[in-house]
Amino acid sequence: MREKRLKTGSDFTWRDIKVGNIVTEVGNAALRRTGDWRSQRPIIDKEKCNKCGLCWLYCPDAAIKPLEDGYYERNLFYCKGCGTCAKVCPREAITMIEEEEQ
């Protein structure tokens, strides 16, 4: 697979803008770190988790990733700290902590 890289920061000038701001490489939003404005982050307690998958199902941004062993992990590259996963978890296995606390 072709390596995708986002040209960002000082090396991206107005000359790099495509006509009409058209994005010809679809799916490159995945390359953007969209989790950087998070004020809280989820902590998953594997001891309490029963692998029901509700956190994964409800996450509005696909920031919960299923693992091969059936458990789930958070993806902080995209996670915006909305807390939906913590709210829907029937085992209270997910808690939200302030970013400053970690």
């Binding site: 960002t8 920061g9 991206f12 107005w14 790099d16 803008i17 006509v19 009409g20 058209i22 679809v26």
Partner: protein
Amino acid sequence: MSKRVGLEASHAAAEAARMADVDIIAAYPITPQTHIPERLAEMVADGELNAAYMPVESEHSAMSACLGAAAVGARTFTATGGPGLEYMHNVLYVASSMRLPVIMTVANRALSAPLSIWGDHSDAMGSRDTGWIQVFCQNSQEAFDMTLWAFRVGEDSRVLFPVMVHLDGFHLTHVTEPVILPEQEEVDRFLPRFHYPFALDPDKPMTHGAFGPPDIYFEAKIAQEIALRKSKAVIIQGFDEFGDIFGRYYHPIEPYKTEGAKTLLLTMGSFSETAKIAIDIKRNEGESVGLINLRLWRPFPLEELRQVVKNVEILIVFDRCISFGGPGGPVSSEIRAALYNQKERPRVVSIIGSLGGRDMSVKDFEYIIDRGREVAKKDSQELYETVGIRGEVTDIRGLK
């Protein structure tokens, strides 16, 4: 063989859209534009034009539908005027920023209140920063010619900008004049099929209309600005190619009897023809006056303007719009700014008149010329002068 027929300017614009074989027309009727979409709807219904006519519920929807049509590579046409143009205002920016060459006739109309269906340039001036190419027409022939030309230039892969073709409401839209209509073969030679290089296609997915956070928006706007300025070369090339095929040559700035003239009058649109008669009279009386017809409003023809006013002492700019609380009529303010850093520049006199469709006679233009020279000579500090208003207008000074 081309043929000479009597056509209303509105119908001339519609005829140009027909001969350009447009694919989609999405328009909402508004006086004084109505005859254009009416005629096109008739053509589609009668099978004279193979196009989709979308009777949308508003101007905002009209322009939005046009964006979608242009984004799939359709040749797209619409028309509006006055409040209709204002109602689609925010979508105008989207069209130019997404580089979708929608072609639109604007039947210039005043803005309420008081409610007025008659013409002036308030709507055109309100759209001047939307990133569209804007041209003004003097007569029915030009309504046809500029509409055809707009497709040629707007759709050029080096341009890809939407174009507004301005017709003065009623003074031009409802006037029937002889128009020379070309053969279809000539039109086809001038105007190739539209090939939008980024047409939406399920087989080649891409993103139109992406989000632009603060770290990218400014770059996007500068890229658009440079592209619009660069399009002037193609605009001029388009005028030349038009002239080579149809025999009528147009220019961003059209001087009339400017040779050796110390005073120039600058007008736009159909009023230029009336003003030319005033110039003829003044010239016959031995006065050193000429006229500039400003055809291309955006991108503004800075170099051409500076060239033509080089040895001019007084430049009188006629505006059909008030910039409330501003430094003068919008056209004259821009022209002052365009000339300000020049070592030698004429004194620019701003004159505002003919708002809301008030007639301007030849005598009125003679008055403008006399008045312009008078206030220039006495170094008047009034921001602008008026023509045809009842009651003395005072206290519009830059100083005090």
